[in-house]
Symmetry: C2
Subunit: 227 residues, 2 copies
């Protein structure tokens, strides 16, 4: 039996899209929200979209205890507060997959610009805030949330940053359960400084092409990098 994937902020577009995609392939998910009622309502929507979906809705702190690899998909404005609230919920040995993008829109700036985060990136801020023994992996910035929530076939890459390949491989395995997504090892956690900025770059492209663009890394060798 696969273990459930908690998605903190799972009522938002990115988190909800992930929940639906995983539900479709039979992967259990737990949607977290600040309010249990909204989480349950989102879980109902997933069940309405996907027959036999294994999905629950809970308050964030309860959701965070439900699986070994927790996805964090809240807006940057809420990232720090959410992590403070999860201090008691997260426990040593868990992986936290941070998808936060510090776009300037968080403080009424442009969505094509980023804010400077003191630690270097939102993921590094997360790494500073999680309880000891929790490992932060950075991923899922460049996949269009509307596209993820749609019926469209995907064919793009997810760049994964983190200190240890073994941890990244566990996250890659979950990402690659979703048909059309390939997880690419982009290096250590500090590379999130760059990878997080792919989102505003794609937003800039999207305004010009009226698209929901993603990214693919070309010319990688064949074979499973994560095996």
């Amino acid at each position: 039996m696969p273990q459930p994937i908690p998605i903190i902020g799972g009522t938002g577009a990115l988190g909800y899209g992930l929940a639906v995609r995983w539900a479709r392939v039979g992967q259990p998910v737990v949607i977290g929200s600040r309010e249990a009622g909204r989480a349950e309502e989102a879980a109902d929507r997933v069940r309405a979209e996907v027959d036999d979906a294994e999905v629950e809705g809970h308050e964030n702190d309860e959701a965070a205890t439900k699986g070994p690899i927790v996805f964090l998909t809240v807006p940057f404005r809420a990232q720090s507060e959410t992590l403070t609230n999860l201090k008691e919920a997260l426990s040593a040995g868990q992986l936290l997959v941070d998808a936060t993008v510090p776009i300037a829109a968080a403080v009424s700036g442009r969505a094509t610009r980023t804010l400077g985060v003191w630690q270097g990136s939102a993921a590094q801020q997360a790494a500073e805030m999680v309880p000891e023994g929790v490992t932060v992996i950075s991923a899922m910035h460049s996949v269009s949330a509307p596209r993820l929530s749609s019926q469209d076939e995907l064919d793009e890459d997810v760049l994964v940053c983190g200190e240890r390949k073994a941890d990244k491989a566990r996250v890659a395995k979950l990402i690659e359960q979703i048909p059309g997504l390939r997880a690419v090892n982009a290096g250590s956690l500090e590379m999130a400084r760059i990878v997080e900025t792919l989102t505003p770059m794609l937003i800039s492209i999207n305004t010009r092409y009226k698209s929901h663009a993603g990214v693919k890394i070309t010319n990688l060798p064949n074979g499973d990098h994560w095996a």
Copy 2:
């Protein structure tokens, strides 16, 4: 008759690779170097590789006068000095295509890290330094120089940043002369802050995959954006 493309720093790996690719499709190029002798030697190498190549070698300042769209492919360490030396050579109406990446390796740091450039990006530094009436476009950061110099077939994108679409379209036309390269409009010149960091991201990926990776933007609409 197509007008020649001056490549400042054309003896380096990226500039030389561009020269060879353009020469193969019959596009005249002018290789610039600090020393005329090295430029001529690089031009000889292009001619040895490509029959009937239309290629000349000149000192940078002379090369810069030879065509309306000038490519700048020097290392970051040399960018500012090169632009100072070109102040008399460049003239109003020209486009300068800046490919500079401010990697920390320029000051003995890591190639997976960038330096903070006061103006925000190397391209914006270039825009501050060029003579009045010269327009800077930022492009060509993510194409592997060794791959460009090789016989390999290319299949990747070049992200192009600049203020006016009409200027970017002129540059795109030159880039897309090279088989396998597509020019993607990444937005205004300030987006170079992000696009320039694709290089260290790809370097990080390359160390893990032993690859010469590039980037492709997925899910753009069909049709010629530049037409």
